[in-house]
Symmetry: C2
Subunit: 333 residues, 2 copies
């Protein structure tokens, strides 16, 4: 049955989160030590941890591998209130298992893909799916961020679906991540669901899936970004986020737009079609700037950058003065 | 490393297989008893069991649920040499786990989706993925049927990929199922990879994903069909398969084409756009003809037929004289 409105205070996460890239060892098993270190570095840059996202190659890992890795992070002292694990699988049963596991760890929320195997799914079918998940998890701490990424999942999240879910589960449905890459789509959701209030409790919190829409998102009532490039450029993205939130007198619009343009220039390098994927390019950058070649490894079906592509990436990043403060600098740069 | 050609004799499965629909109880857990009964009925109709396919809602089940169900079938005495479980997941690790489990049970083959989360995947990435799976399973009994179903998985199987995999793993790569719905695509694979020989060992065995291409497939060197409608119409599909294989003198082409047209008429009913999905329509038909309403249940995100749609299905099936021999007939029909 639909939940009733809870009067208990809830804390929400906002700002900048990275879909944390997952390092793999030579045998392609997750590299726990490098993963912990990267998470700690991201936190030091004011960047939250959307572990097990698209850029984390989460769907290239088993449910068990993902739960074990979350246990490892919590065991290493990583603050669950800074973590929003991805838990959406094709099957309701696995989604419930991963979500319950994350909630029990005290994670601040979960980022949930719709079931993405079957295509042309009805709104009613998706509503039933998410309803089953909420009811089976059955925990008042549950906060779901719906994950709209139609270029990859194909199956998407519609305003009508959000409306129905919010009505039935106003506490469990906390917000969404829009990775459509289509500002008009984000604006539609912002206009329909964002409550302009200082109290976070009642809102539907919208994160953009690319920092290239960060300024526009904050200006229109959104709460931040969960972006792949936050894995390598967290400080600058966070700086724009903070500037956006400050009063307009202090931050002239032209300055904000200049910062936005600088973020876009970095993103453009990583999203270049000359690399096999943004994921592989991000990992290659960490390998370069951390002087740690093992970081470049990806799981099939993704492929690493070739040596030539890696050189091109280094040149492109150097040409825009890119840096990763706190990581060891590669002597070759 | 690539495997060397084995001289051991291998047995291949051919003919008609059903991607067995999976019954669910009211709590949406798999209904073991009805599943066993349906498998036994299919076998009695000369229909092999491609359990855990698209029409089985396999991707709506967890890896653990699928392995448990396979254990249950084997435990119930269902012959593994008649089973080709679907084992392809998004993650290499889960695919290896499911595949090893099926091979250890002595299943005649596995039907393997490519990893389907990431889109625009390179041939090299897919090659590495399947290579890892073959090598990690590491069992000479492994027979993989590559599963090409671009309307659903989006990620597909290309001739160049098959060529590379066959060269490296001539024993493990046994064939494919083409559910593209595009005869030209099937013909391309038949022309490139089918070896016209009575010895099954060296061939690449091509199944069509719809019995509407069965006659054309057998005429061009294919080995059969793995088709959703075999769940409800196995005897007639098998009859055409046998007739195709017999000498042309006995079976005038016009007779074969007439049988093919009759199969198509049945399929057209189930694939009608007036039903939410073919899967739901197939289950509804079993519910009707077996007088067992529980059979209609699907897992979200799929949805059942409405009462009105179920009535329309019954009328449509009656109008073409459809029957399911061996199932209890619904008194209402």
């Amino acid at each position: 049955m639909p939940e009733t409105k809870s009067s208990s205070p809830t804390s929400r996460t906002r700002g900048v989160l990275a879909p944390v890239v997952t390092p793999f060892k030579t045998d392609l098993s997750p590299d726990r030590e490098r993963f912990i270190t990267h998470c700690q570095w991201l936190l030091s840059q004011n960047c939250g941890l959307a572990v097990f996202g698209t850029n984390s190659e989460a769907n290239s890992m088993s449910a068990k591998e993902r739960m074990t890795l979350l246990d490892v992070l919590v065991g290493a002292g990583i603050d669950p209130s800074r973590m929003m694990p991805g838990t959406g699988c094709c099957s309701m049963t696995e989604t419930v298992e991963l979500t319950s596991h994350a909630v029990k760890h005290g994670c601040v929320g979960v980022l949930m893909l719709p079931p993405f195997y079957y295509k042309n799914i009805s709104e009613e079918g998706l509503y039933r799916y998410f309803s089953e998940v909420v009811q089976r998890v059955g925990d008042p701490r549950l906060k779901i961020y719906l994950y709209h990424i139609p270029p990859v999942a194909i199956v998407g999240i519609t305003p009508k679906l959000v409306e129905r879910l919010l009505k039935a589960y106003p506490n469990a449905i906390a917000g969404m991540k829009d990775s459509s890459g289509d500002w008009n789509n984000t604006k539609t959701f912002l206009d329909a669901f964002t409550v302009q209030t200082e109290r976070a409790v009642s809102g539907f919190d919208i994160f953009v899936g690319s920092e290239s829409f960060l300024l526009a998102n904050i200006r229109n009532g959104g709460v931040g970004t969960i972006s792949a490039t936050a894995n390598v450029n967290p400080a600058a993205i966070y700086e724009l986020y903070v500037a956006c939130k400050q009063s307009k007198i202090e931050n002239r619009q032209s300055k904000l737009e200049q910062e936005q343009a600088q973020l876009n220039a970095v993103r453009d390098v990583f999203s270049s079609r000359k690399f096999p994927s943004m994921i592989a390019a991000l990992k290659q950058a960490i390998a370069i700037y951390g002087n740690d070649p093992d970081w470049a490894r990806v799981r099939p079906p993704l492929t690493e950058l070739s040596a030539e592509q890696a050189s091109l990436l280094a040149i492109d990043l150097k040409s825009i003065g890119f840096a990763m403060p706190g990581l060891e600098m590669d002597a070759q740069l």
